[in-house]
Symmetry: C2
Subunit: 280 residues, 2 copies
């Protein structure tokens, strides 16, 4: 039976350290650390995410400035707001809540954010630096995945990690991050043939597809570490990519959904705000 990787517990520990750091930094800078959050439109899930983030910031003594824009906001208006925030020296980090309404260009919008305030780590220059193994602001969810893996495995050298899902937010950034730690990394996608044959070779399996129940016991090597990034609402209940009940009997370590990767993502967002404030 697999050990549970408790993302809430790990995030709580991280929160303690980061809160102290934020507090000291606030004294040093003589002002509040501040996170600007941009939300365009009325997506209910996004509203919940934004409120979770600002609430967590507040708990940690970090102030936030939400900008809630109507669904009619043009690309030019969005860019103009980002530009104002880029220049505002009292703002440490800028978070553009995704997804954007379809008529706005996500990558174009992200590229407007000053790289040194890009706490989501999605600006092409930050992703390029990550790709090259250089210091940068890394995306929050992959950072959380790495911390969860490291909490149960000291050394990834030579381990085979399989990442399912190729998003710019999670799957792709994990490749250079895991490779830099010495792992062999396989990036699988929705077209992958014989997925179970590929994933069942993984010492570390990370699924980030949002397809509930995609990863069954047949997809998992006995003793593997399984990190479930997927999160979908299924029959009114939050479900991951992994068939938890079946897989937990086979894996050595597994993250639950909820309570696995989620809390780590928010905490790494706070870590990135502190990092940007430190370099100011």
């Amino acid at each position: 039976m697999a050990h549970l990787i408790d993302g809430r517990l790990l995030a709580a520990k991280l929160q303690q350290d980061l809160t102290t750091k934020a507090h000291n930094l606030k004294i040093k800078l003589g002002r509040d650390l501040c996170l600007a959050v941009i939300l365009v439109g009325n997506d209910p899930a996004s509203q919940i995410y934004v409120s979770k983030k600002t609430q967590k910031a507040s708990e940690m003594g970090i102030s936030s400035r939400p900008h809630i824009l109507p669904e009619t906001t043009s690309q030019a208006e969005l860019n103009a707001l980002i530009n104002t925030l880029n220049k505002d020296i009292t703002i440490d980090g800028i978070l553009l809540q995704l997804p954007l309404p379809v008529y706005l260009d996500r990558l174009e919008s992200i590229s407007q954010i000053a790289p040194q305030k890009d706490i989501d780590g999605l600006h092409p220059i930050n992703q390029g630096l990550l790709f090259q193994g250089r210091p940068t602001l890394a995306p929050c969810t992959p950072q959380g995945c790495i911390q969860l893996i490291k909490s149960c495995c000291d050394d990834l050298t030579g381990a085979h990690a399989v990442v399912v899902g190729t998003s710019v937010l999670v799957g792709r950034p994990l490749v250079p991050m895991l490779s830099a730690l010495g792992a062999t990394v396989t990036l699988a996608n929705s077209k992958t043939r014989h997925l179970a044959t590929i994933t069942s070779q993984a010492d570390i399996l990370i699924s980030a597809t949002g397809r509930a129940g995609l990863i069954t016991a047949d997809h998992v090597k006995p003793g593997a570490i399984v990190i479930d990034v997927g999160i979908t609402r299924h029959n009114g209940k939050l479900t991951g990519d992994v068939d938890f009940e079946a897989v937990k009997t086979k894996a050595s370590f597994i993250t639950p959904v909820p309570g696995g990767v989620g809390p780590m993502t928010i905490m790494n967002l706070m870590a990135n705000v502190i990092k940007t404030a430190e370099s100011n």
Copy 2:
């Protein structure tokens, strides 16, 4: 017995098209297309590479401006030269010949090149755009690898590609490039355990390590496409990563060394010069 993938032939075809393109562009712009080449120090292999590149440019009606700097050049001096070339509107592309002398910082130096003149596709912002699947200047060798693969395989959807070697120049960029074409991609490194087990699952195997003879017949799945990027001088003879004689009996397609990837790399450099000139 494998079919030979003739890089020289493919490069020659590409050269014809690109020469016409360069010629038309020259008329349109009313000036020569121009490639600036920077070489620091006296590395004999680098001198040969630089002269091959300028010679190929000349054949195609593209002029070049070599800057040969002494081994004593400081980082500040190198940066200053790059900056001058960035601002020179008669220069379309800047090539910084690698490797640099060890006392210079390669990634720092590359970051000085204006992204729109970075014909090697190594600037972090270009690598980030590539990583995100957006239009950019892609590195030349991986571009060549993709063209060689496509010359013998129309559709990579669902194919398993294994890349051995994690360099920023070849191995890493191949991951998003192959993944964007629908392939499952595995990135192996020098610490990979059971390398032969991993590589022998590859429908497409690309080796870019510079370790002569690393890939034996045991590493190759029958019918695989094998692309050999490695090039080392071995007993006075150029050798790839792949044991060509043994592997050619097992693969369906294979590149020779020399005459495989090499000619395609130079040709993609010219393609990138033309691309930068076009967007001027």
